[in-house]
Amino acid sequence: MSADRSERLSATKAQFPLLARRVRDRPIVYLDSAASSQKPQCVLDAMNTYYETINANVHRGAYEIAAQATDAMESARSAVARFVNAPSDNEIVFTKNVTEAINLVARSWGGANLGPGDAVVITEMEHHANIVPWHIMAAEKGFELRWIPVDSDGGLDLSGLDRLLDGAKLLGVTAMSNVLGTLNPVRHLADAAHDAGALVLVDAAQYVPHLPTDVQALGADFLGFTGHKMCGPTGIGVLWARAELLEAMPPFLGGGEMILDVRKDGFLANHIPHKFEAGTPPIAEIVGLGAAVEYLNGLGMERVREHEVSLTAYALRTLQERYGSELDVHGPAEPACRGGVLSMSFRDIHPHDLSQVLDDRGVCVRAGHHCAKPLMRHLGVPATTRASLYVYNDTSDVDALADALGAAGDFFG
């Protein structure tokens, strides 16, 4: 990495207050961004400014700060729409996380469109967020849930795709695996699904934070993502969906904001996107997400991706050089085909024990099933140790990880 690049990066790191923290007298080495990213100061500032100067409930207030709060929220909606190249702001529905976004689709669209004889196709590498809602609805509506298998390289095995899609009404796929880092061929899958008459739901929780995203180019019908993994606050997620789908779908949660009229004998739903935003929205969080999106725009998503590809390459090389066959990094070998998510099995040390030793040295990684138990069963491991990279990480973080793995190896001898 050139001196120039790494200088710019240490400047990036400095924008994230938590990364200045020390753990047991060492600088923190945060390698768990796939679980949740850190937040730059500008995002915290945006939320504080909101609370300190214009906090008020939105959409129904005639007074000045209520109008400003509404404007701030709706400008954030525009910023988010542009960030994923949505054709219209009205297609951006704010939820509390991507899990709610997928449940919204399963319950509202699925509830109205799925029944016995129908099928929903998902992949074996889905996060529980894109599995359990379909289990729940399948039990209720009696449709079939089919699985695209994972191959031995950590990609999708598409050899049976046509058969799987036959009679399917929806294909759900993660754009990037939160365990393997695999970047799935979303466009190809979308074309195949559309040919078979199925809609496409993309779980982009691990994609939107890391790569330039264009919902139209991806060919998606529904696409969800989550604020806290993309420099934004907790408590905010996004469902993008094509307007005509949203318009045809029945409401999900009922309450204030989502109605035009309520009578004792029924109600009239509001226009999209408000139809799907019942109750007081997470206003400050929406403002925070807007600031996160502007922050990422400032860095440039192309550059974010470039940085992560080169850091992932460095990490794969370093780990291979130091630990060879003792350390297995699951998922695609080629950095250009994957994100910076490194799920490791190291000797026979259990991930929980491994991460404990890493924590002792201030290296934050995640050990567990990463909410992907079907994938774990496929991999034949109960859990993995996952280090994940983001824009604020640099080679020093990777080196610290490699050193800490050595220490763990010594400890468990």
């Binding site: 207030g61 509404t70 400008s75 702001d89």
Partner: protein
């Protein structure tokens, strides 16, 4: 910051206090459409009768603030006796006036989503008294009050085609 006088022009208060074309028309021959402003609970009912491409009669009902009610009243006098095509041009012109700053609640495009015509200038359309409502754009929250009856008129016009 705009003052209250920018919003509450005399002619507006006059239409509010003495609404023109207030009431109901028999349906059919008239058609009817109802519009809601979910922000404040305003409701506007627009009745129109169209024959040979001309709006022969208009009437409005419902309830709301001075801006929504006066706008409905002014709308009714402006379109009564007009050709449907002229009325549509007037709607465009009015809504364009209402979005000069493009900050309607609901985000970009929200008040200008009525199709290809929406980018037409309104140089050729005379707004007359309606100009009095121009001050509303300085109070973005109230824009929906002013446009409510106009959007409802559009819905009523659609009804006549149905």
């Amino acid at each position: 910051m705009a003052g209250l006088e920018d919003l509450y022009r005399e002619i507006i208060l006059d239409h509010y206090r003495n609404p023109r074309n207030r009431g109901e028309l028999e349906v059919p021959p008239a058609v009817q459409a109802v519009g809601f402003n979910p922000l404040c609970g305003d409701e506007v009912v627009v009745y129109i009768e169209v024959s040979d491409g001309v709006i022969t009669d208009v009437s409005t009902g419902g309830q709301g603030c001075s801006i929504s009610q006066s706008s409905a009243s002014m709308m009714s006098t402006a379109v009564k006796g007009r050709k449907v095509s002229e009325a549509r041009r007037l709607v465009q012109a009015f809504k364009q006036m209402m979005s000069i700053h493009g900050t309607g609640i609901g985000g970009r495009g929200d008040d200008l989503d009525d199709g290809p015509d929406s980018t037409n200038g309104h140089g050729d359309v005379k707004l007359g008294d309606l100009e009095a409502l121009r001050g509303v754009v300085k109070f973005p929250v109230r824009i929906k009050c002013a446009t409510l009856s106009w959007n409802t008129l559009v819905e009523a016009l659609e009804e006549t085609l149905a």
